[in-house]
Structures are given as structure tokens and as C-alpha cells.
């Protein structure tokens, strides 16, 4: 289970890759974290090349997921639903 992100901002040298990626990355990307902690993470992602690359690919994943669209709804579905329910409930 992911630990809750936030609370007292740690010192820069206390931010580990594990904390940055597992505990804080989602809130970091959605902007849902205290400014001081966000600045610490900015520094970590800037100073740690593997985490910087990880962040890039995580953002690309987000962009990819944004391109997913709900599946196309069959055009007659609403009518079919109403007819189905009426038939099952003995209505004309």
C-alpha cells in the first residue's frame, strides 16, 4: 500500500527515489501537494537522472491514456433498453 504523501516536507537529502516514485508521484503530477514538498521533488527529479527519465515516461503514459476514448455507443441502444425493460415488465 502506498504511504500517504504530504505532511512535513523532508529535507532534500531525505527524498529517496522510492518516496518520489511510489509515494509522491501521483500527487506531484496532479499538483495536490504542499509547495515546499513540490520544490523538493522538483530538485530530486532534476538531480536524479533515473527518476527524471522515469518521470518523463510516466508523463508520456498519462498522455497516452488521455487518448483513450470511451467505446462507441451502439446508436439504437437507448431505444433497445426501453423496449427491453418494457417487455420484461409486461408494459406495452
Amino acid at each position: 500500500m502506498k504511504k500517504e504523501c504530504g505532511g512535513t516536507p523532508p529535507r532534500h537529502d531525505e527524498i529517496t527515489c522510492r518516496k518520489a516514485i511510489l509515494d509522491c508521484l501521483l500527487d506531484y503530477e496532479t499538483g495536490a501537494m504542499p509547495e515546499a514538498l513540490r520544490l523538493e521533488l522538483d530538485r530530486h527529479f532534476g538531480d536524479c537522472p533515473p527518476c527524471g527519465e522515469f518521470l518523463t515516461s510516466y508523463r508520456a503514459t498519462g498522455r497516452t491514456l488521455q487518448m483513450l476514448k470511451p467505446s462507441e455507443v451502439p446508436p439504437e441502444l437507448a431505444r433497445a433498453v426501453v423496449d427491453f425493460v418494457k417487455a420484461r415488465c409486461g408494459k406495452k
Binding site: 487518448m67 455507443v73 433498453v81 427491453f84
Partner: protein, 208 residues
Amino acid sequence: MSSEQEISDLDLVRGIKAGDDRAFEQMVARYHARVYSLTYGVLRNSEDAEEATQDAFLTLYRKIGTFDESKKFFSWFYRVALNTAYSRARRRPALPTIAIDDYLPRFRSDGHLVAGDVPDGAIPVDDDAALRELASKAEGFISELPEPYRDVIWMNDVEQMTANEIADVLEISIPAFKSRLHRARLYVRQRLSEISKPPEPVAAAEAR
């Protein structure tokens, strides 16, 4: 805004309870597409999703009397739809799902990312056409996820539901929602990275 859109869900619920067929038809018009898409996320098959949508509205029609009007209709009905889809899914052979922990990044005991856990092949960040192609693959990866993760990422990233809506429908806390969403995205990131490996340099290939 049309007059139909101004009618609240609760007004329609009360209309259906009173036997007003027009209210039921308006409810179908309002929610059938979202229910279809939600059930499609579980069933991954348009015919099954159509039938699950019909069953969900049948349950709505029959059980509307049990709906507590102090609650949100949306959350209640989405739970009805999800349960309908789960029930239908259980009647078919179970599809294999992955062990999500096997695909999460690994760390050393000092908390540093294990070298090599960021694949060399970068996801093509600036290439929209390539990202669109990857999106179709991502849909398949989402379907491999265990149900708690699959439903959260589908509702959030495809259905564009809010965190509060998803937590309400699934009856989970916001931290649990965030944890599931993040782990699901980490899984999809890992799988997308694996299939985005750049072609091997010619010299390296010829050296073999």
C-alpha cells in the same frame, strides 16, 4: 440548456417511482452511454456490454423503490451497473490477470531506483501518432489488470470521472483510490516502455 437537462436526477427518480414512463425514458437517455461504457470497461465486449446495460436499467426500474433519496443517485446506479457487469463477467471463463507487483519499479534498500528499471526505449513523448497507436495497446494492458486497479484507471482515465465520484461508486477512501490509480498507471507505464524499445542500432545487430 434544454428543459430536459434542467430536470434533476432526483426528479426523474421520483417520476419513475410514480410510474411515469417518460421519466424512465429520460433517465435512459441521460445515462445509457455512460453505463454502456462503464460495463464495456469490465466486459471488453460490445454485445455483453449492451446486455449488461439493459440489465442495469431493468434493475433500476425494478429496484428504484429501494433507492434512498438522501444519497446520490449517480453513485447508487453506477454500483448497480458495475455489479451487473461483474455478475455477467463471472459467468464466462475467467481471463488471466497479472500480478501487478511484478511490474512495479524496484528499489535498493537505500531507496534508490534499481538501475535498468527505466527501460532504454522511451515512450515517444512528442509523437502524437505513435502515442495514439500506443493508446490502443494501453487499453489491452488495462484489461489485464486485476479488477480493483482496472476499474479505477478505466473510470478515471477513460470515463473521466472525478476522484470523489470513483471513491463513492467503489465505496473506497480517496487514499485507496489514489493508490490503485497510481499502481495501475505504473503498470501501464512499464508495459508501454517495454513495447516502445527503439530499434537496435545496425552496428550492434551486425556484430552478432
